[in-house]
Subunit: 321 residues, 2 copies
């Protein structure tokens, strides 16, 4: 099986074409613009890797991978509207550049386009893959809604946050792998194991992401360290701290959350350290990573074929930037 | 074949159930609310009639009809956001009642739900019907974009307006009929004739709608007569008047459009009458209706089976309210 880097380059070449008609330009050029902002293309490559795990990559796996990437971009365009985000990958978001109505409609038509690519896969697999695609799409919307709901809520439990992350992030990684596997003729047990691998990997990735926002090396981490803390964002770290900190630390933490003191980030980090939230987060991440790797291990194909997926998992989750 | 009224009642019964899960309630109750506002359910019934034209209504035609109605409702929720419309069928729109972010996401998940119903039809027909559904969905988005673009433009030609109406309104009527026919095992030529019937009927309907907004009987017409004129909305009537009025009338018309004079509606109507725009519109409507009926005539099934579709066409287009 080919490495993530190689498949990522191949997919980038495949994906680099006009996906939309010429007219109306006011609708489709915003889509071109957004796709042109790039991205790591993790999900379509997972789709290709899920496919290649069982056989050579089929022609129509590239169509499926394209559908997955377009779907992901649809969610980004609409999420950016909802979050009123001015920037994405350092560039203007679609609604910022072209106005909200166009961004709304550009997102809609991006989703429809994803279904157009989906309809190019072999008819034999269409009902099953369309079913999984639909379920995943619905779950991603649910995850986004929970995320917005949680922002307005005082208390969110760890279980609730986990479930939200699963819906908003994990299921699409998991489904990308599984859809590729289905198209590769994989048996049901292997499909499910691959899905479970992706699901756990997604959670580990999010724990890592929350951890790095607080404890990452500012030199390596792309974003401002402590951004989540400044925004009072509910993360694995904050939720766990609120659930486990001692009375006096809890009182101080709530105090800090209520205001925007100078030194807020450093003071919250201090409480995180004293409550050993940092250590807990690394353990939680490793727990999910280990479970993910065990699912991968259990898949009934020769170990050699699984190597690139294992490498990717370790790369995604053990990065310190 | 059953009448529109009967099928409409049957579909209403079939459609009246929970289409969405319990949670997150903050996402799905807005969807329930919107579907509860009702509507004439013209599109799903066209789907059922297209199906019944060729055989008894198949079980899965109801699923297809449900997909079509959910798709239509998705477009309404998002259109209402774009138009900043406060009311729909006399009730609060989704964004007005639940906020814009929820309305955006509720629309998204409504579209996904439509695809979930679509995936319940027979596998044999899925690729063709999914293809037509996707194409139509994309065209409807394009129509909405043209509509928004035209609002900002000074001049719009009749051809451009026609094409916009075709995309925004006609293709979904046409595709509803055709998808039903495909599922009914209709041959390609009959499918295409039925599509052409729906397309022309949609245009005739819009001409009628524009006409009634200007010349309808205020007692019978549900909306404020002259609303389009007050809003300077580009309609069949206004576009034709601008293209054909004599120099002095044209100057006066442009003058009226530039302001909001008392008596604007009556003065514009006067110009419409003097330029015989009213007569022209009725002729245009009849031209499209006749063409539609000719396509229906050409469909190779016994005339008796076509009666309900013919009645529906005459009812939709010759109403004076």
């Amino acid at each position: 099986m080919q490495s993530f880097e190689l498949l990522s380059r191949k997919f980038a070449l495949h994906f680099e074409k006009n996906h939309f008609p010429e007219e109306p330009a006011s609708l489709y050029r915003p889509n071109d613009y957004f796709l042109g902002l790039g991205g790591k293309r993790v999900r379509p490559v997972l789709c290709l890797m899920g496919n290649e795990l069982f056989d050579e990559i089929r022609e129509d796996a590239w169509e499926l991978a394209t559908a997955v990437e377009l779907f992901h971009n649809f969610t980004l365009i609409h999420d950016d509207i909802m979050d009123q985000a001015p920037l994405r990958r350092g560039m203007q978001t679609v609604h910022e550049k072209y106005g909200q109505n166009t961004a709304l409609l550009a997102g809609d038509v991006m989703l429809v386009k994803a279904y157009e690519y989906l309809n190019r896969i072999s008819k034999d697999f269409l009902p099953q893959i369309l079913g999984l695609f639909n379920q995943t799409a619905r779950e991603v919307c649910e995850g986004q809604q929970w995320d917005m709901d949680f922002e307005k809520r005082e208390a969110v439990s760890l279980d609730e946050y986990l479930r939200m992350i699963e819906l908003k992030t994990s299921v699409l990684l998991a489904a990308s792998l599984k859809m590729g596997a289905v198209l590769g003729g994989s048996g049901e047990r292997n499909q499910d194991l691959l899905y479970a691998f992706g699901r756990k990997l997604g959670i580990a990735f999010q724990v890592q992401d929350d951890y790095l926002d607080a404890f990452g090396d500012p030199q390596k981490f792309g974003k401002q360290v402590g951004g989540d803390i400044l925004a009072n964002k509910k993360t694995f770290l904050l939720i766990h701290a609120l659930e486990t900190a001692k009375a006096d630390q809890l009182a101080e933490l709530k105090n800090l959350l209520a205001g925007n003191d100078e030194g807020k980030v450093e003071k919250v980090l201090q409480i995180f350290r004293e409550s050993k939230v940092d250590q807990w987060a690394l353990e939680l991440k490793n727990k999910y990573l280990d479970e993910a790797l065990q699912h991968l291990e259990d898949i009934a194909v020769v170990s050699r074929r699984k190597e690139p997926l294992k490498e990717l998992a370790l790369f995604l989750v053990q990065r310190d930037y």
